[in-house]
Amino acid sequence: MKLLIVDDSNLIRTRIASVVEATQMKGISIVGLARNGREAVRIARVSRPDVVTMDLTMPEMDGVETIRELMRMPDPPNILVVSALNDKSTAITALRMGARGFINKPFTDDELRLALLDVCNPN
C-alpha cells in the first residue's frame, strides 16, 4: 500500500513518516512527501498512492482543493485528513468531499497509527 504525506510543516511530515516506519505498519510504503496541494497532486499523478494523509491549511493549494483534485483521479486514494481545524463543519466538509477519516492535531503516535489503519482498511 503506497502512502503520500501532505503537510506544509516538515515536522509533521517527518513525524507521520517516522510513526509509519517505527511501528512497521504492514505493507505501507511511503511514496512521497508534499509541502502543499500542488506538489501533492503532481506526486499523486505519478506515484498513484493508495492512501494520503492531508493537511488542510497550506500555502498555494489548500487541503480542501487538493482533496477535490485527488478525487477526480481514476481510482482515487483513501484520504486521512490530519488538521488542527477541529470544528465540526470542517470535518463534515472534508468527509463529504471524499476523505475517509479525520484526525485532529495535536495527535499522539497511537492516535495516528489507529487512524491510518482505519483508512487503510476501510472495510
Binding site: 506544509d8 510543516s9 516538515n10 515536522l11 509533521i12 517527518t14 513525524r15 517516522s18 510513526v19 517505527a22 491549511t57 497550506m58 500555502p59 488538521s83 488542527a84 481545524l85 477541529n86 470544528d87 463543519s89 470542517t90 485532529n104 492535531k105 495535536p106 495527535f107 499522539t108
Partner: protein, 151 residues
C-alpha cells in the same frame, strides 16, 4: 470590535496544555495570564498565525531554542537547524489557532503560519492590549500572545 471573554481566553490556555500533553506527555505549568501592553518581550523563536473572517488579529507563540529542541526530539525529529526550529514553533501556532475553531466556528479564518527569529520579533507585531499567557514546560519558559477581536 468586541473584546474576548474570559471563557474565550480559557480556550487558549486549555489548547496550550493539550498541545504539550499530546506531543510530550507532560502538561505545562501556566505561570500567568494577563492583559499586556504593546511591549511584550518574547523568546528567540516565534510563530504567528493571523485571524480573518469574523475576527481580526493574530496568535503568537514564542519559545526558546532549548524547548523547541526537546519537543522535536519527542516527535522523532533529529534535525535541529534554524529552519526546523522555526517550522516547529509555526506548527504550534497553527495548531493552537486551528483548535480555536471548535469554539469560534468556521468563520474564524486562519492563515498559514509566519515564523520570526529574535526575541523582539513579536514586539512589533502586537497591538496595544494583547492577552498574554506565560507557561513553563520542562524548565523552559514560553508564552502565547492572543491578540484577537470580534468584528
Amino acid at each position: 470590535m468586541a473584546t474576548l471573554t474570559e471563557d474565550d481566553l480559557r480556550l487558549f490556555v486549555d489548547a496550550v496544555k493539550h498541545y504539550l500533553k499530546a506531543t510530550s506527555g507532560q502538561e505545562p505549568e501556566i505561570t500567568s495570564a494577563f492583559l499586556g501592553d504593546a511591549n511584550v518581550t518574547g523568546h528567540e523563536f516565534n510563530g504567528i498565525v493571523s485571524f480573518m473572517g469574523g475576527y481580526s488579529g493574530q496568535i503568537l507563540v514564542s519559545m526558546p531554542q532549548g524547548m523547541l529542541r526537546e519537543l522535536l526530539v519527542l516527535q522523532h525529529e533529529r534535525n535541529f537547524t534554524e529552519s526546523n526550529l522555526l517550522d516547529a514553533v509555526g506548527e504550534v501556532a497553527n495548531t493552537l489557532a486551528g483548535n480555536a475553531r471548535k469554539v469560534f466556528g468556521p468563520e474564524l479564518d486562519i492563515s498559514v503560519p509566519t515564523r520570526l527569529r529574535g526575541a523582539q520579533g513579536i514586539t512589533a507585531r502586537v497591538r496595544e492590549r494583547p492577552y498574554v499567557i506565560t507557561f513553563r514546560w520542562n524548565r523552559h519558559p514560553a508564552l502565547v500572545c492572543v491578540d484577537l477581536e470580534r468584528r
